[in-house]
Subunit: 173 residues, 2 copies
DNA sequence: CCTTGACCTGTTATGATATAACATACATAT
DNA sequence: ATATGTATGTTATATCATAACAGGTCAAGG
């Protein structure tokens, strides 16, 4: 599963839902970034400075960011400040499976499971705006079954759920 | 299930997937429209001329239409030709469960099962652009289970799959 | 009757998201 | 060194969506 080796507990590598839990996020982000480097190498593509920086920006929190927000951050770091700069970096990340596009939010989020083949299912908290990637296999299986029943072949799917995370649910109560 | 009564076979009322099948679409659309009238009555809201016309336009095919396309059609029929005219009519239809918003396409499609409580799952054919609403219950159950496993409560969900319908699959082969 | 208030329609204006097209720079391979 | 593919940057424009306000309709209550 995880293609990096270190001894200590690595929540980012085991738990699918840490977006909603308190955790060592610096470690979490570092870990994903390291895996991203490895994946780029493997795939024979270049994780150039803008692209890497865009990923770092997405990794600052478990939230989705709009392209223009990412752009603003990139520009502040000395990169170009026109929309294609952000869109191209984000597009690259999505193509390489390093980020996901959340259509419901017109926004992008870093993938927390890069390299693992996964049809993502997103849980979006309307309280704190955190986005988690949930266990998708059963959902995808149900979807494939429903589609197959009428002869439809699913190639790509978005599953995006809006609701409340445990913390926000408790806060609301 | 179906809240209208007529004797003959009514594919629109039984089959979930007729978007991809040849069928008597005039009947199909008429039927939905009649149910829409009934639903508006029930809900104590008004299916005014613009709103009804917008629904008719969506019902012309089993495809999603962008708000601006709907607007153009409405304007041609003598209604206002500014974006809010279309967006408001569409918003009304969505609120009343008479249409769905397909986020992946930035577009809207008539609901083929108005009045039936259903969390929709959309199957979007990339060949012919038809959009079908599939059996969603198992998908939704899987999603709820995955969410519950990490304490997340799903309030609303979009499930949108892109792929090939039976006809386009055959055509491609 | 006629006023009030809710709601629907329409307009102007602007905001937010996304891409096309082209120019320049950089990498790598002959 | 030159050619080739790829990456970055810019200008301009396309596409999608909403805020804010003005006028019209209609039914309920005075
Ligand atoms: Zn984290
Ligand atoms: Zn939350
Ligand atoms: Zn039909
Ligand atoms: Zn098709």
């Amino acid at each position: 599963m995880s293609n990096h080796a270190h001894d200590h507990d690595c929540p980012g590598c085991s738990s699918p839902d840490l977006a909603f839990s308190r955790h060592d996020h610096a470690h979490c982000a570092q870990d994903v970034l390291a895996r991203a480097d490895a994946i780029a190498e493997e795939n024979g593509v270049r994780l150039t400075p803008v692209r890497r920086r865009a990923l770092e920006i997405l990794l600052e929190s478990h939230r989705a960011m709009g392209a223009y927000d990412v752009l603003q951050r990139l520009a502040a770091d000395g990169f170009g400040n026109q929309p294609p700069v952000a869109y191209r970096a984000l597009e690259f990340l999505v193509e390489q499976g390093l980020a996901h596009r959340i259509r419901r939010l017109n926004a992008f989020a870093a993938c927390m499971h890069p390299g693992e083949d996964h049809a993502p299912v997103f849980l979006i908290c309307r309280g704190c705006n955190a986005v988690a990637e949930a266990q998708a296999a059963p959902v995808r299986a149900a979807l494939d079954a429903a589609a197959a029943a009428i002869g439809f072949s699913v190639e790509r799917a978005n599953v995006e759920a809006l609701g409340l995370c445990p913390a926000c649910k408790e806060a609301a109560a």
